[in-house]
Amino acid sequence: MTQTKKSPTNIQNWITPLFLIISSLLVVTGIKLYAPYNPYVERVIVVLGINIILVVALNLSNGYTGVFSLGHVGFMAIGAYVSSILSLAIETKATNLPDLPAWLAHVQLGFIPSLLIAGFLAAIIAFLIGIPLMRLSGHYVSVATLGFLVIVHIVLINWTQFTRGARTFSGVIQYTNIWWVYFWIVLTIYLVWRIVHSPYGRALIAVREDSIAAQSMGINILRSRLLAFVISAFLTAIGGGLMAHYLTSFSPATFYFTATFNYIIMLVVGGLGSISGSILGTTLVTFLSEILRNAELGMQIGHLKIPAVYGLSQIILSISFVLIVILRRKGLMGDREIDFTWLKRVFPNSPQT
């Protein structure tokens, strides 16, 4: 854990994020070209893109600051509900949410304002709960953030006037498409990369590695953690809003423990503290679950007929995760990034430093 980061050269400072962004987009575009008229594949890809945004955002808090939050899905829920309430068509509001106060019932915002308001609201909430919570560390902060998730869930279920309670929130306009997801992927990866590789990011990593030493160097632990938590919450809420405007119907159960564990798995499989890892882990988990889900239907191999076994995909996925955690304790990428230092060896004369 105490591996010190090589300070990246200027060129590397740009190549890796660029590579990550381009490769994320290529995964998306490549498959879109491969199956241009396949809405199913496109759907899987859009969800993958949203998951990348969510996991990279989660990594900023859980990976880089060492504040292992289990409550991020709560911010996702806030993002989903707030943006959907704002963007819902006025006629849909009248039937689905008849008890909304008048100032909200007659308002229909566009996609981007709804998303941004939801994001800022989540950031404000993250700030308020972060002030006490970011003083904690280790398991305590996990439990406390889990408490936050439970609170959000209970509020969603009980605040029927705004959320329809436990009933499905439906009728959301499907604004999210592959291009919006592109946009937010680029923004998220760029933002998180810049934060992590700034002096502020170094301070975060220092706090994660040894908070007492960091404090003695004059780093304000609370402030550095809080800022990461707030930015992470903002991006997570945006991800939640994108998801809501893609699924078009969801309920409080969509944003609860199952979702939390899914994102934690993607994060841990990829590697805490690595943006490349987050992208790799998310892609792997999303694709594997889809491929395995289709394999569940059974198949005919020569004369051997394999019957359909539902639920198999979860079992295989879980075994794979156990293997990953045993064989690569720190996830596929650990806390390293895909790096291009080998370019230096191949092209020794290229301009550097």
Partner: protein
């Protein structure tokens, strides 16, 4: 290097996993539909196929999509329903199929997850190109799948989701095979008022689910309309196991209500509530909806399940049921080696026959023609009752079965059609 090695191991593990299913035991495993049929008789469908049917241009199987949550929280309802659906497909195929073509029922697992349900619906309408979708027993999933089917113009018949609002929320390609919750809530309220003479009642509901929220709302509406009085209302949330706080509040009532109406999503919840009520010395009649319909009601409730009544789709009983029910139970037993787990098995079975009937009457596999034929269904006799869709209403009018628990056995309490039903 290490990473490459690891990736290889992982890949190998996955391949090994893919090849392994033959060993993995599973309750949902089903023999191929093309195998020799068990000795079962297929229930007759309402109308004879049109004699003027054009010679089948194609002998390709007719693809019908199946969407059930075979794993996750909804599995206890969806697995029996999916088994019922698969049995119906097998019977229809053994009897020669529909329009001279076999039915290919492509069943996917929605995993009780909105995103996965959206994926499988998209996959069915775009990759598999199904002509209709039959499945699901909850409105969360129905609302994830419905809009996608609606947009693609594919009729979607939900086997067991009972929210009467669904068709209006989704659109004109969405149909319900069971009655709506307003119907069963009204039936429950009328049964309590007329048969159990309950002038006052306790209302206790799970606010963690759409189904129980609606059920409680419709029940309250009808019961108060009849003149009943709710003396105390309390709620719990899905996943709660201890109801002592609410039961203590109930016990403090003076006078006690005559009856208890408890809206639970799962049979295990209802069983636990009944047991804790009886343990606290409250033996009043407890009434609820079709969420009670599962072996866990008596399994968890034990002797506490006595004096419990619930509204459901049909009485699954080999000796007390209708002839159709007896034939269904026999066929189910021959196929799976056990009696149907709940009325949802019968609903899944009926939904397939209902759709097959519509395809037969449509005389083609054009989704629009199937939708129109389905909407015109009148007097279709299934295991769970007779289905008729009134013009423009895609929730069927069906009679409600009220089951009473006597000595741990389900017995037919009444077969009722409510006099008045709250608006959806």
């Amino acid at each position: 290097m290490k990473m490459k090695l690891f990736s290889l191991i992982l890949l190998f593990a996955l391949l090994a996993g893919c090849a392994a299913p033959t060993q993995a035991p599973s309750a949902t495993e089903a023999p191929a539909a093309t195998e020799a049929p068990a000795a079962t008789e297929a229930p007759a469908v309402t109308e004879a196929p049109a004699a003027t049917e054009a010679p089948a241009a194609s002998t390709e199987p007719i693809k019908i999509g199946g969407t059930y949550n075979l794993t996750g929280a909804m599995a206890s309802l969806d697995v029996p329903a999916s088994k019922g659906s698969k049995l119906a497909v097998k019977e229809i195929n053994a009897a020669g199929g529909v329009l001279g073509r076999q039915i290919d029922y492509i069943l996917y697992d929605g995993k009780t997850d909105s995103a996965t349900n959206g994926n499988i619906a998209t996959q069915l309408v775009t990759s598999d190109k199904v002509v209709a979708i039959v499945g699901n027993t909850d409105s969360d999933s129905a609302l994830a799948i419905g809009p996608i089917a609606q947009k693609a113009g594919i009729p979607y018949l939900t086997a067991g989701a009972t929210s009467p609002k669904l068709p209006d929320q989704v659109g004109d390609f969405m149909f319900l095979a069971p009655f709506g919750d307003n119907v069963q809530a009204a039936a429950g309220a009328e049964f309590m008022w007329n048969k159990l003479s309950c002038k006052t009642s306790w209302l206790f509901w799970d606010k963690g689910a759409e189904y129980t929220t609606l059920l409680a709302k419709y029940w309250r509406e009808r019961y108060e309309e009849l003149g009943g009085k709710i003396v105390l209302e309390d709620t719990y949330t899905q996943g709660d196991t201890d109801f002592s706080a609410q039961i203590t509040r109930l016990k403090a009532q003076n006078p006690m209500p005559d009856c208890l109406y408890v809206a639970s999503l799962q049979a295990s919840d209802a069983g636990a509530i009944a047991k804790q009520l009886r343990d606290a010395g409250i033996t009043l009649p407890m009434v609820g909806g079709d969420g009670y319909d599962g072996p866990e009601l008596v399994g968890v409730g034990g002797s506490g399940a006595e004096n419990v009544y619930f509204t459901t789709h049909a009485l699954i009983s080999a000796d007390k049921g209708t002839d159709k029910m007896k034939a269904f139970i026999k066929a189910y037993n021959a196929e799976y080696g056990n009696d149907p787990e709940s009325a949802f098995a019968a609903l899944g079975y009926d939904a397939i026959y209902l759709m097959a009937d519509a395809i037969k009457r449509a005389g083609s596999t054009d989704p629009k023609a199937i939708r129109d034929a389905l909407a015109a269904t009148s007097g279709f006799e299934g295991v769970t009752g007779t289905v008729t869709y009134q013009p423009g209403i895609r929730v069927p009018q069906k009679s409600v079965t009220i089951i009473a628990i006597v000595n741990g056995q389900y017995t037919l309490g009444a077969e009722v059609t409510p006099e008045k039903v709250p608006a959806p």
